[in-house]
Symmetry: C2
Subunit: 396 residues, 2 copies
């Protein structure tokens, strides 16, 4: 699917659109254009496409179709979940971690201005949050806990299932003590959807953000799972589409593409995960032999199969990415959103890396197009590039 001989290793930033997904979308780009809210017969085609996509997504994550809200992507989903729940509960409190996506963390300040307080729980040096630390942060005013299922930069998988059990205990305790404040659990599963089960009851979550652009679906697509009974406001008001939770003419092609993409990645997730884990671990072993000073960022085992993130002492991440690009390897220093930034990654700093270490880091994320040739290329090129950059550093 990569249109050139380059080795694309930035699947966490963007995925190509799967041809099958594109084929499913095309009727809604080419012929079936009716507004799904229109009442004449042909509009039933677009309405049916939306409802069948909703049923597909619901089936994949084990919920009712009415619990799916289609969005324009992961950032909108995170904003709708968090601002939506908090605005429906004036002057309330929420809990999150210090390695969440910017779509979560950047809401802290504006929500503070609206009277909501946030406790940011730090993760361990391995990039995993401790359930006990979340429990301790929850007060009687807490209405929402938001912990991502897997991190976008270092790939660490969070103990969302355990957190949900703790949340359930706190709910029971509140009931016993006659406290009516609800407590909802949100997870950003945008990066997890390719490799992990998204079953909402097994995860025990009330809200879950998903995005099409990271699962070989169309950009500008996504969904928010909202468990029945979750009290929340919309962030986009209007015609009342999506049962009033997300107004605006439905993007039919994007919805169909999102559902189709989610079905494909969820059906392949186990086999693809096994294979990518092997490729990734093998590559890191080779790199570690060639560059012994490499430091892995994030837990070696509790991480997404496709994620490799390490610090290369003495070599700037920006330089690594540029030299790799020249060598035909496309990589990243961290999240694509902040790739343009000069600030070091908040995720790497959260692990206890110094600012210097954080800026000397590289993220390689694998996907469907990755094979042994891809990793062999990295194993051959990266050590040379690191040597060159370290040389340059010494000269300066």
């Amino acid at each position: 699917m990569t249109p050139n001989p380059q080795t694309y290793l930035d699947y966490a930033a963007a995925t190509p659109l799967d041809p099958t997904v594109y084929a499913a979308m095309r009727p809604y780009l080419e012929t079936a254009y009716a507004n799904p809210s229109s009442v004449y017969t042909v509009a039933r085609t677009t309405r049916a496409a939306i409802e069948s996509s909703r049923a597909t997504v619901a089936d994949l994550i084990g919920c009712k179709p009415t619990e799916i809200v289609f969005t324009s992507g992961g950032s909108e989903g995170d904003n709708l979940a968090i601002a939506g729940v908090l605005r429906a509960h004036p002057k309330s409190h929420w809990v999150t971690t210090n390695i969440e996506h910017d779509a979560v963390l950047e809401q802290i300040k504006p929500l503070e201005r609206e009277g909501h307080a946030c406790t940011v729980v730090p993760v361990t040096s391995a990039g995993v949050v401790e359930v006990g630390a979340i429990e301790v942060a929850i007060t009687d005013h807490t209405v929402l806990v938001s912990v991502m299922l897997a991190n976008n930069e270092i790939g660490t998988v969070q103990p969302v299932g355990e957190i949900s059990r703790a949340v359930r205990q706190i709910r029971l305790d509140r009931t016993r003590r006659g406290i009516a404040t609800p407590l909802f659990l949100h997870t950003d599963a945008v990066q997890a959807a390719n490799y992990l089960s998204l079953h909402v009851d097994r995860l025990g979550i009330d809200l879950m953000s998903l995005a099409g652009s990271k699962i070989y679906g169309p950009k500008g697509s996504g969904a928010l799972y909202v468990r029945t009974g979750t009290v929340m406001d919309p962030i986009i008001y209007g015609g009342g589409q999506e049962r009033g939770r997300r107004s605006g003419t439905e993007n039919v092609a994007a919805i169909v593409g999102f559902a189709s993409a989610l079905a494909l990645v969820q059906s392949d997730r186990t086999s693809e995960g096994r294979w990518l884990t092997e490729l990734r671990d093998d590559l890191f072993k080779q790199l570690k032999i060639a560059i012994p000073s490499l430091i892995l960022n994030g837990d070696p085992v509790r991480r997404l199969p496709n994620n490799l993130n390490f610090t290369v002492p003495g070599a700037e991440g920006e330089g690594l990415v540029l030299y790799l690009d020249q060598a035909g390897i496309l990589a990243s220093t961290g999240s694509a959103c902040s790739s343009g930034d000069l600030d070091p990654s908040h995720v790497l700093l959260a692990l206890g890396r110094t600012r210097e270490q954080a800026s000397q880091s590289l993220r390689l994320t694998f996907g469907r197009g990755t094979d042994a040739a891809s990793t062999a290329r990295v194993a051959a090129e990266l050590p040379k590039i690191v040597a060159r950059l370290r040389e340059l550093g010494r000269v300066q």
Copy 2:
């Protein structure tokens, strides 16, 4: 472009995707998938596509490229403009009219809960707001006036240019009196973009919402014009895309499609407007002869060239739409968003129509595929359908 022999007369609800627009989008669906925020060379393709689209849109509406924020559509644009400006000005006041789109009016209550007050100015029986009525509603606490450029149900064109001159006077007066509160003017130009000039300085507006799905562009696309100096918050926080005004991975294909669609409709707007006005006026004349009791809704002259909306005493709008559908004519009772609703249109009630009259109304909206054969078909079928419905009404 209509894929069947049906006569589609609901262009205000949805437009087909223009083949040229689709062709412009395809590279970004099929091959160029890189995240525009990535730093390697191939990502320059998607970044460049966004920036070139931004320049196109800016050029068409006479503003700087930095003043364009790409959105997921008209509803998001209206919400970003209004909630964005108000949240940046705590406990403030805004003014709008009683025929705005639901994406504007549905924000009144939630913004009230956040401490903001709204004055809703009624329109005349012709569906046009009086500049004086807007002026009177503006207090020293008003930070925003939101008046649509053209109405989606009755097509009336609002005196936005005149309102902007009044707003400018009030700003000068505030300066003289040492009042620092800013006053911004927003217009929803979603329905106007096919036929009216969108030049922001001639209109004198600070914010303008546009949507791709009504201009033969892709659903899920749009833009908000934000004049430099406009103080506002985002509604979607995160990676800081769109200069921090709209976070989330950019939907490259949608952005390219939106710009391409806007360029096409703006280049054809005068000729198409002239031709559709003629067709429309001719049809209404014929219908009025066949059904003398028809009442035109909205100003006969100050309206979009493609809009015809009338009350048919004695015939339910819902019934008209269903019978027309059987006769191969696709029409609407009003805005598609509320087509599923049983409530009569708030726009028709604002004109002074009774609930019964409002429910006995039909909207026909023309577009590129409309020709003399389309209107002839309506002229032939509608009188028969009205007679049948009136007959049924009498029998019951």
